[in-house]
């Protein structure tokens, strides 16, 4: 007789493990205003730093006069590059192998660049003192267009490396050129394109935008001159890497540095890099011996802290007359701004842009990316996507549409014709990736059925007729997208950040009374790690998720990890959690065997206990085992119940999804409204369906923003035109449409629990879906492609150019 089926079920439910829509344990404090963010940190004698920033995009700094600022009562110090130079901290290395000025060293290269750092007793005095610093500039010609960077009359931006022919990623052909990165088979692809029946060509621009997390970036540095320890609290998506970098830069031994990421109010890639504010707060604390806080304001965040995208992707796609794709060619001009401060794994200067063959079985492909310096803020971070994956997805999902137009074929059919088939996985892509698992056709058919695709097309055709007959001034667009991501960076053999392999970690302690503490190398910024990692563990070790505390973000206690970005937490740290849980279980099995006086192999695991095979009434629960591990001498077994796992993933994971957006467009005002949005996500094993849904809603809303209006725009003098939330579009509930979510579940074969990661899918897949809907609305009138963001005036302009206002 085994335990009744029901009780097994009840015990399983009580664990709140995998697949449970467990409520987020974080929310109690967030919804009650009890979060603890960087700006909530208050220390005795704390000083405040504030930046003098350049109003010019390109200028020589003739002189900096800090005397009036220093004289202002309450001002403690004003740092300039001259003060940092003796410490070799006036420049710092970037994650992309370049270097970046911490404070303007002789010139400024973008509007908003940090010129001097004022330290004062409070932030009001600091702000007043900023106004008193007199900087004399000599303006230089400004370069904002990356396509003009290599013209004979182009100003040379980076005089510091103007003569260097080799950069971190190979040859540089011009002082304003950073790198050329090539993947795939150039000659083969060009041959295919030369011979194919049909070739579609397009320039696809993914405009410059910004992650704009609700909490801006900031830090508090506290140097204890007595014990020589530096504590640094900050908005860090990768606290351990920050500790290592801080140690290498400052010369302070790593064990004397403690980095803490407290609650983080959204990151979206904005908080991966190292910013001048962090460095200046550390230096100021070392100089003054007092804690120094620096928190940027919204305008500083938008105009100077890492942007995202700015990829000009020239594409060619070749196919047979029947629509079988034969080859894909892409040349990208990447505008990196004034310093190459992209946050990509070291060997990937264009991130994983080479996932741009998307969900399709494309036999031949070639990708080249040229990185270019311009007089804009540095960045190029992965805004809610794995390194450049959203650029890649946008590119291929636009190219498919452009090809469908050229073939005069339905774009849904064209996709289905070219999907990688289920039986082709694991699939080797032409650009070198091994896709782990997928079932694209099933997801696609489910999506088309769910929205009633055929009827939508019939309705659309009727509306075009009505429009032509003058019966309506509205058009409808059906935006299709089938995306494949590459996330969970990544295998240490080819993925590192500043030399640190991109493994991740989990350390578990089981307490005597059967509850647990798990610490990870990642850091939640709103993703709900404290909720979901406890669920992974609950299913592995049979302790209720409610009895497991998850801790992250303090480098003095958490095991070393590479942090949270690129949807890597579940694929990498989630795997480490499961593996550490399995180590706990293995030891627990030995203890249970001793307690039950049987051989290890005579036991089997059942939800929360080890049961003697064939004798179900004889068992030991995890709780009992935990207690025994602390209070009994067990021969050959060390006391205690703890485990650590450092997980080096064998491969990336490849989440995918099918999104469909139905949009109504007012041809006269350019206003667009989303009528329906269907999002099917396949993220492998689903840990917490409610959190998945929340992530999808949030990511889709960011995608809506990006596609429909959000941008960092510059004028020809390099002035930021969209530096406040009046102009930088963040949707409110009013602009946010209703979303219909759905799923299929194709586990990753190489991940311990089959999970692939989901946090970024909706941003990656959402942008093409929204943009395709706008483009599709005008397809019947001859439009092939129009650039994002699709704000009112640009949609109006599209209609206008097509003659729809005549």
């Amino acid at each position: 007789m085994s335990a009744t089926a029901e009780s097994v079920q009840e015990r399983r439910a009580a664990l709140k493990g995998l697949g449970t829509s467990r409520k987020r344990v974080e929310d109690a404090r967030f919804t009650q205003g009890k979060g603890n963010y960087v700006d909530d940190i208050k220390l005795p004698d704390m000083l405040f730093g504030d930046f003098v920033r350049s109003q010019h995009a390109h200028a020589r700094v003739k002189s900096i006069d800090t005397s009036a600022a220093i004289e202002l009562p309450g001002v403690i110090a004003v740092l300039t590059a001259k003060d940092l130079e003796p410490l070799s901290l006036h420049w710092m290395p970037t994650l992309a192998g370049d270097k970046q000025m911490v404070l303007a060293d002789g010139k400024v290269l973008f509007q908003g660049q940090e010129v001097a750092f004022v330290v004062a007793e409070d932030r009001y005095i600091a702000a007043d003192a900023v106004d008193l610093v007199k900087v004399e500039y000599e303006e230089l010609p400004v370069l904002v267009d990356p396509f003009k960077a290599e013209l004979p009359d182009a100003p040379i931006l980076r005089e510091d490396i103007a003569d260097e022919k080799e950069g971190a990623h190979g040859a540089r052909r011009h002082p304003n050129h950073i790198f050329t990165w090539e993947q795939g088979d150039k000659a083969g692809t060009e041959a295919v394109i030369g011979e194919a029946d049909v070739v579609a060509e397009e320039m696809v621009y993914y405009h410059r935008t910004h992650p704009c997390p609700m909490e801006t970036c900031g830090s508090v540095a506290s140097m204890d001159k007595v014990n020589g320890k530096l504590t640094l609290w900050g908005t860090f998506q990768a606290p351990h890497v920050v500790r290592t970098v801080a140690s290498l830069l400052s010369g302070i031994a790593e064990h004397n540095i403690r980095v803490v990421s407290p609650d983080i109010g959204g990151g979206f890639g904005n908080k991966v890099g190292v910013y001048p504010g962090y460095v200046c707060s550390i230096v100021a604390s070392i100089v003054t011996g007092q804690p120094v806080k620096w928190v940027e304001d919204r305008m500083e965040n938008l105009s100077a802290t890492a942007f995202a995208r700015d990829y000009w992707m020239q594409g060619k796609i070749a196919a047979t007359k029947e629509g079988k794709i034969l080859g894909l060619w892409c040349h990208t001009t990447a505008d990196h701004g004034a310093f190459d401060a992209c946050a990509d794994p070291t060997k990937y200067p264009a991130g994983f842009m080479s996932i741009c063959t998307g969900s399709y079985d494309i036999p031949t492909a070639y990708l080249a990316v040229d990185g270019i310096y311009t007089n804009k803020a540095p960045g190029g971070v992965a805004y809610r996507c794995s390194f450049r994956v959203t650029e890649a997805a946008y590119f291929i999902e636009r190219m498919i549409e452009v090809l469908a137009i050229k073939l005069n074929m339905d774009a849904a059919e064209l996709r289905a014709k070219n999907f990688i088939r289920k039986d082709q996985f694991p699939y080797q892509s032409a650009l070198g990736w091994e896709y782990d698992s997928g079932d694209y056709h099933t997801a696609w058919d489910k999506a088309l059925d769910a929205v009633g695709y055929k009827q939508l097309r019939a309705e659309q055709a009727q509306q075009v007729e009505d429009f032509k007959a003058g019966k309506t001034r509205k058009l409808m667009g059906v935006g299709l997208c089938h995306f494949t991501e590459i996330v969970g960076a990544g295998p240490v053999k080819n993925c590192d950040i500043l030399g640190m392999g991109m493994f991740d970690s989990c350390e578990i302690r089981i307490h005597p009374t059967g509850s647990a503490l798990a610490r990870l190398g990642t850091i939640s910024q709103g993703q709900g790690h404290a909720t979901t990692f406890a669920q992974i563990l609950a299913s592995e070790i049979g302790i209720s998720a409610d009895d497991i505390t998850i801790e992250e973000g303090d480098t003095d206690t958490a095991p070393y990890g590479l942090g949270t970005y690129g949807s890597r937490s579940t694929p990498v740290a989630g795997a480490a959690t499961a593996m550490a849980g399995r180590k706990i279980r293995a030891k627990a099995q030995m203890i249970a065997a001793y307690l039950l006086e049987v051989h290890d192999n005579d036991l089997e695991w059942e939800v929360d206990r080890f049961v003697v095979k064939g004798a179900p009434e004889r068992f030991k629960t995890m709780k009992e085992i935990a207690y025994a591990s602390y209070n009994q001498a067990i021969p050959g077994v060390e006391p205690g119940l703890e485990a650590v796992s450092y997980y080096d993933p064998p491969n990336m994971t490849y989440p995918f999804g099918a999104y469909i957006c139905v949009m109504d467009i007012d041809v006269d005002t350019g206003e667009a409204g989303v009528r329906q949005f269907y999002a099917l996500d396949d993220c492998g094993t689903r840990i917490n369906p409610m959190i998945i849904e929340g992530q999808v809603h949030g990511g889709l809303t960011e995608a809506l923003a990006i596609a429909m209006g959000q941008e960092i725009a510059y004028d020809e003098l390099g002035n930021v035109k969209t530096g406040t939330l009046m102009d930088f579009f963040i949707p409110t509930s009013w602009e946010t449409p209703n979303y219909q979510t759905d799923y299929t579940e194709t586990p990753s074969p190489h991940h311990p629990i089959g999970a692939k990661g989901v946090g970024e899918s909706p941003n990656v897949g959402g942008v093409p879906a929204f943009s395709n809907a706008v483009n599709d609305a005008f397809r019947a009138f001859g439009l092939t492609h129009t650039h994002m963001p699709h704000d009112h005036w640009r949609i109006w302009q599209t209609a206008n150019k097509l003659g729809l206002h005549n």
């Binding site: 932030r123 009001y124 702000a127 007043d128 106004d131 304001d297 919204r298 305008m299 006269d668 005002t669 350019g670 206003e671 209006g709 725009a713 035109k721 969209t722 939330l725 009046m726 102009d727 579009f729 949707p731 409110t732 009013w734 602009e735 704000d791 009112h792 005036w793 640009r794 109006w796 302009q797 206008n800 206002h805």
Partner: protein, 285 residues
């Protein structure tokens, strides 16, 4: 994004406020809801040394309707304008407009007086007041005077108000007939790409008895469209007369390129918005 330092004053009555303003002169500004002024101060585009807060001047908080006239105190918030049933009965266009200003947080603070006195061409209340043919009451060291809303705006941020005067109230006749405030904006919390306020009343014969049209954010001041209004009264409301009225109104606008789009687009959008506003108002007349 931190203001310069300033002295804060909170007089209890309008005369006290005027006395303070006279005493402190150029260095002082009155503050109402602060939702236009404080952002400018945070950008340090304005650095007044003294702020005279009108919150405590109770006589500036009122909405009254009597004898065919509506009277609204300057310190009445946009939220209060929306909430007042009495006002809604007398001039429903006020609620319709107010609901399209910013978001609830801003409307709890922003006042009618601040909105019309500010002189920002983006503000919605000035065109509304011109459409309603409102009269502004100004109080200064030399006493009280009135100025028509249609004559109040001189250029962006320049009005007929003397620096030492306080705008105390706006008065306008109770509305009859149909109304519409149409506003195109990029998102909640945005100023208008183009907006139009329209009041129309129908005569017994089905003709257009009265018409009043004003436009927001299409020039450096609000625009009262007298000719277009008269055109509708003379010709009645039909597709053809609407088109002519719109053409006439468009002759008065002078939009500028900004992040909402180039002037060319705004001209087109403005014509559509005005056309829709006239149609909507007429359908309600």
């Amino acid at each position: 994004m931190i203001t310069g330092s300033f002295e804060y004053h909170q007089p209890g009555t309008v005369p006290d406020a005027i006395a303070l303003l006279s005493k402190l002169g150029d260095d002082a500004r009155v503050i109402a809801g602060g939702h236009s002024l404080i952002p400018t101060m945070k950008l340090r585009l304005a650095m007044p040394e003294h702020l005279i807060d009108l919150q405590a001047c109770q006589e500036l908080k009122k909405i009254s309707v009597s004898g065919g006239e509506v009277c609204i105190g300057a310190m009445t918030t946009q939220a209060e304008l929306i909430a007042s049933e009495e006002l809604h009965q007398a001039a429903p266009i006020v609620r319709e407009t107010s609901l399209q200003i910013a978001d609830p947080q801003v409307r709890y603070m922003g006042t009618l007086g601040g909105n019309v006195a500010n002189g920002d061409p983006g503000n919605d209340m000035p065109a509304l007041m011109q459409c309603l043919d409102a009269t502004f009451v100004l109080s200064g060291p030399d006493g009280e005077r009135t100025v028509l809303a249609r004559e109040f705006y001189e250029a962006a941020y320049f009005t007929a108000r003397d620096d030492l005067e306080i705008l105390t109230e706006a008065r306008f006749p109770v509305c009859a007939g149909g109304y519409s405030y149409e506003k195109q904006k990029r998102k909640i919390g945005d100023y208008a790409t183009a907006a139009a306020a329209v009041l129309l009343s129908k005569g017994g014969d089905g003709g257009c008895e009265t018409a009043s049209i004003a436009l927001t954010n299409l020039a450096d001041t609000p625009i009262y469209c007298q000719q277009a209004s008269e055109h509708l009264v003379q010709n009645g409301v039909s597709d053809a007369s609407i088109a002519d009225a719109v053409t006439s109104a468009m002759g008065q606008i002078d939009p500028v390129d900004d992040n909402r789009g180039p002037a060319e687009f705004k001209r087109h959008a403005a014509a559509i918005i005005l056309q829709r506003a006239i149609q909507q108002a007429w359908s309600r007349a």
